[in-house]
Symmetry: C2
Subunit: 629 residues, 2 copies
């Protein structure tokens, strides 16, 4: 019976968290399944996934170089963890399901390929031949394909479904770009016009195509138009028509296609999830059911045991409440219909809203209810208290902007810090501390942690300064940031702002999924970019006297816009620089200058990130906003 209960609890648990892993029902497999889903195992998997991704910081070309032996040992360790996780999964899930699942095949191939690459690279390194760790861009596959990353996989599925439609629109869009380029060639090619740099203007078809593609992102506007516009203002109409059609119309159509598909896909997913949830709850019911009169039911005792297993940390009163809802007529058993609802019931947060007395009132009632104390408490609860602190925040903002070197200002900082600490103490004195620091009180948590962190950082900074005359820039930076963050509080005082802020905060979980997706794509592009372009461009500090320092160490960049704008640090020489460059390419400004040598890499990045990923982000936000606001 205990084994039946465990199996049923596994089904309920899966239903509650929308998990869709088919598992063997033998007692041993169920126990292994519990282990597989234990949070420590999941956390460990994620930890090693991120260690694996993070290796790029230490591998050649490295931010912080480590010997190949060290990084390769860590990588092998990661692969071992992934492999054992996979073996564990294979023990849990039926054999035929396991081998049919592309996720598992992907992981196995990725492990194998990485091992082969490691061996080849190591062997070549021993023979002093430098090669490329070409398999590294596969690492995000582990992030996508381990069972915990359901949300990210869902987005990838959504992208795959959007692909055919997007492709047709994209082809039409490219057709339009090619047509306009042909027109540009005919209109401007024979005019002997020159660009600002003095090169011939619009004479080569492929270059025109690239220039006009860049114009879609508006990155080279108005430069690309100026020679023609200088020649005759009529020609500006050509470019305006181009921008209206290709930037505004087509880019909006891309958004429309992605958003439309996202909504459609989301609806399907939700329908499927609801079906799966119901299916699993019925499975659990069928395990525990007994016949009671004409219908099958689950006995109250069994039901309670099940709930204890599924949700061990809920209170007895909460469990009784759930039973009341599930067995409304108190018949001593739960019928099928009520049982199926259990997964949803468990997901409802029950907030115990008992009006608790303040601990101080409990310990020292005389003092806490004295006239002075009552006055303080009513003062804190008064609206004027909030307003006073709003004014203090505003004055604080002015002081922050003033010069730090002035001793009066740096003294004032202590005053403000004391005032904020006093505020928190007063509030905790007045309001019940457990209510004040409840999970839902985001702003109280925010305030308190910012103030405490600022207090610690400021003390640390002052003691460092007085002890060793050493002004740690890092600590000081953190102090500054915390100081400014403190000001955000003022937003919370205005009802309308609070509504918008709450909407934004509620978007965060969706944004995290998006962050995972962005990480995958960025990582792949960053690794490929590093392998292709590392060392091509070098950064030299200001006033460096190194050879070719002004041309970013590359004679080919002499007099280029890139070198003139001092973009030398925009390179692919390590993983952090690569990420920064990719971020710059994402906002598509000056990207044609940043990567002028790598047009194809570029266009690929633009199609994947700006046309697909950013539109998915906007679709995310639009949908989340419509639901929340």
């Amino acid at each position: 019976a205990q084994e039946d209960l465990l199996l049923a609890a596994a089904y309920v648990y899966d239903a509650q968290y929308n998990r869709n892993i088919p598992f063997e029902t033998s007692p041993q497999a169920v126990r292994l399944y519990y282990l597989y889903n234990h949070w420590t195992m999941q956390a460990a998997t994620y930890f090693f996934i991120f260690v694996d991704l993070f290796l790029a910081v230490f591998e050649d070309p490295a931010v912080y170089p480590l010997p190949f032996l060290a990084t390769s040992l860590v990588e092998v360790l990661c692969l071992l963890v992934f492999f054992s996780r996979l073996v564990h999964f294979a023990k849990v899930t039926p054999r035929n399901v396991f081998w049919k699942d592309t996720k598992n095949i992907c992981i196995m191939i990725a492990i194998l390929v990485t091992l082969i690459d490691l061996i080849i690279y190591g062997a070549l390194k021993i023979s002093n031949i430098n090669s490329i760790r070409w398999s590294r861009f596969l690492r995000p596959i582990f992030l996508i394909n381990f069972a915990e990353s359901r949300q990210i996989r869902r987005v990838f599925r959504s992208i795959r479904n959007t692909l055919p439609e997007i492709t047709y629109v994209f082809l039409l869009f490219m057709f339009s770009v090619l047509m306009f380029s042909l027109m540009a060639l005919k209109l401007f090619g024979d005019r002997n016009l020159r660009t600002v740099e003095g090169s011939p203007y619009f004479t080569n078809y492929l270059e025109i195509v690239f220039d006009l593609y860049v114009l879609v992102t508006t990155a080279n506007s108005p430069d690309v138009m100026m020679p023609a516009f200088d020649f005759s203002w009529w020609y500006s109409l050509f470019f305006i028509t181009y921008v209206v059609i290709n930037t505004y119309l087509f880019m909006s159509v891309f958004l429309a296609v992605v958003y439309n598909n996202y909504r459609k896909h989301l609806k399907n997913e939700i329908r499927k999830l609801a079906y799966m949830k119901r299916h699993k709850m019925i499975e659990a019911f069928n395990i525990l059911k007994v016949k009671e009169g004409t219908e099958y039911v689950v006995q109250e005792a069994q039901w309670k045991e099940l709930v204890k297993l599924v949700a061990p940390d809920i209170s007895t009163s909460h469990r009784e409440l759930l039973l009341r809802v599930s067995d409304e007529e108190q018949k001593g058993y739960v019928d099928k219909k009520s049982f199926v609802r259990l997964a949803d019931l468990l997901n409802i947060q029950v907030i115990a809203m008992r009006i608790q007395t303040h601990p101080l009132e409990h310990w020292i009632p005389h003092v806490y209810n004295s006239a002075v104390s009552l006055f303080i408490r009513s003062m804190v609860q008064h609206k004027g208290f909030v307003w006073t602190y709003d004014v203090i925040i505003l004055i604080n903002a002015v002081f922050i902007a003033l010069d730090e070197e002035n001793p009066l200002i740096s003294y004032a900082e202590w005053v403000f810090l004391s005032l904020y600490i006093l505020e928190i103490l007063l509030k905790v004195y007045t309001y019940e501390p457990r209510a004040f620091f409840a999970k839902t009180q985001f702003w109280n948590w925010f305030d308190t942690s910012i103030i405490i962190a600022a207090l610690i950082a400021t003390i640390l900074n002052t003691s460092l300064k007085s002890a060793s005359q050493y002004n740690s820039q890092q600590v000081l930076d953190i102090v500054f940031i915390l100081r400014v963050l403190r000001l955000i509080r003022i937003v919370d005082s205005i009802q309308r702002f609070r509504v918008i802020m709450n909407t934004l905060i509620n978007i965060v979980p969706t944004m995290l999924t998006f962050g995972g997706l962005a990480l995958v794509v960025y990582y792949m592009f960053a690794i490929i970019g590093m392998e292709l372009f590392q060392g091509k461009i070098q950064f030299f500090p200001r006033n460096s006297t190194a050879h070719h320092a002004l041309e970013c160490g590359n004679p080919a960049l002499k007099d280029s816009l890139f070198a003139r704008a001092k973009y030398c640090k925009n390179n692919f020489n390590d993983i952090t620089s690569s990420f920064v460059v990719l971020m710059e390419l994402t906002v598509v400004n000056q990207w044609h200058d940043i990567l002028s040598a790598a047009k194809l890499y570029f266009i690929a990045f633009h199609i994947v990130v700006v046309i697909m990923i950013i539109n998915i982000l906007i679709a995310f936000i639009l949908e989340a906003f419509f639901v929340e606001y």
Copy 2:
């Protein structure tokens, strides 16, 4: 009875075209109302509105200068037309309605203000004092407020409704920008960093705010980040966080708010329109109703007279069809329920799909049905015919890209032109011409007009060339454009492209409304920009030896990015240049360089056009696409 019919027809007509003008019901007023709505009167009003707007081309600072006397006389004429149109409207509509309508008050004030401005300007001009025609930015008021521009007014209403919500989000956004600026000041202000131009980096709070505001539009990325990034790559995190929050998150929230409001507003408008339509049809019914047994009805004869009045150009068979639908049981009268539906019935396009015989078959059946003719016709209907011409188009594209000077290429153009003409002739020979050129056959119309225009332009160009050795650049440009446009046809051969193209074509009417809106906003900003900035920057042709030619005639611009990028023609010296500059500001690239002296004008333009108007455009397209696709 005829007067009753006219009144009822006016109601039906208004219901059919969703017109909401309350009019007096006296016979004379109804007749005036008909005149008011006559298309010639409406066309005349629009004509004078556009003449009035177009005056900016000829007024100082002019593209084509005309004496003040000429432009002011035309303007007075326009104002007279507007005034008489208003008087006409006052005769039609009840007096109290007229004076309550802000539209009319707006027009009157605009007329008055313009007259005063004209008189003052003229008087000063006579005394040789140069002043400003400050009332000119009011001109779009006539475009907005005349009764025909319902759609544009609807969008403006929608903007007004969105304003409160947008304002709160905008304030929060500005708060975020101010916070980040404060952080930037603390983090980078004391570092002695320098920008590329050598000026101090992030030391002045207001300048930081502006720089970071520009970064929201991504226009100064990555330049604004480079000094901090060069100092330490950690600081790139500051800018990445900034861009994610302010560019991606907030800009998407703006879109969400605008789009959400647009949808809500649209729903309300549609509901209101449906109510008004029904209301008007009931008014019409009440005028014509007679008692038939227990219910009120409209007699068949009356009904037919009414339809003849409302839709004079529909065929008798079409009218009979409408009667059949409205009087299904052929009782000789139309009841209230059926009568109310008439407005919608009239809007349904009935396409007479009779399979007509080809006129040639009628005239010369022997020839048309001969073996050769049948062979030709089956050939044209064959799929291979389309494919052949697709191949011809592709070859043509290659020829267009090749050098024009080669006589063989220019001879080939004649071959292609003949081939296209042959194709159209063959199609008209095979398919029934009236069906081929039906209203719905967009592509046939497109092809034929492009080919005929290209034929005319090419002949014109060749004869000009052979007659006078003069190669008219304008004609040649048109020939080139037409030649490339011809290639668009290939899109029509592929089913999936055709679907997308049709969606895009169906968006056109919505885009026209948007074009009106954009015209209003651009015109106002252009006029204000011209008054503020005219003459500040001058354009000199390449190799000009004029004084300060390299600094756009303005010594203050020496060594500026603006002058170095040769942006001199981006000025407000006339209306066309102003429009081009505003277009460049709309795509927000290099805008901080283009208008560095006029930061406030700029931010205002960005808020109005990019945050409001462009988001409305995207909302338009999204909604249209969801409905169509």
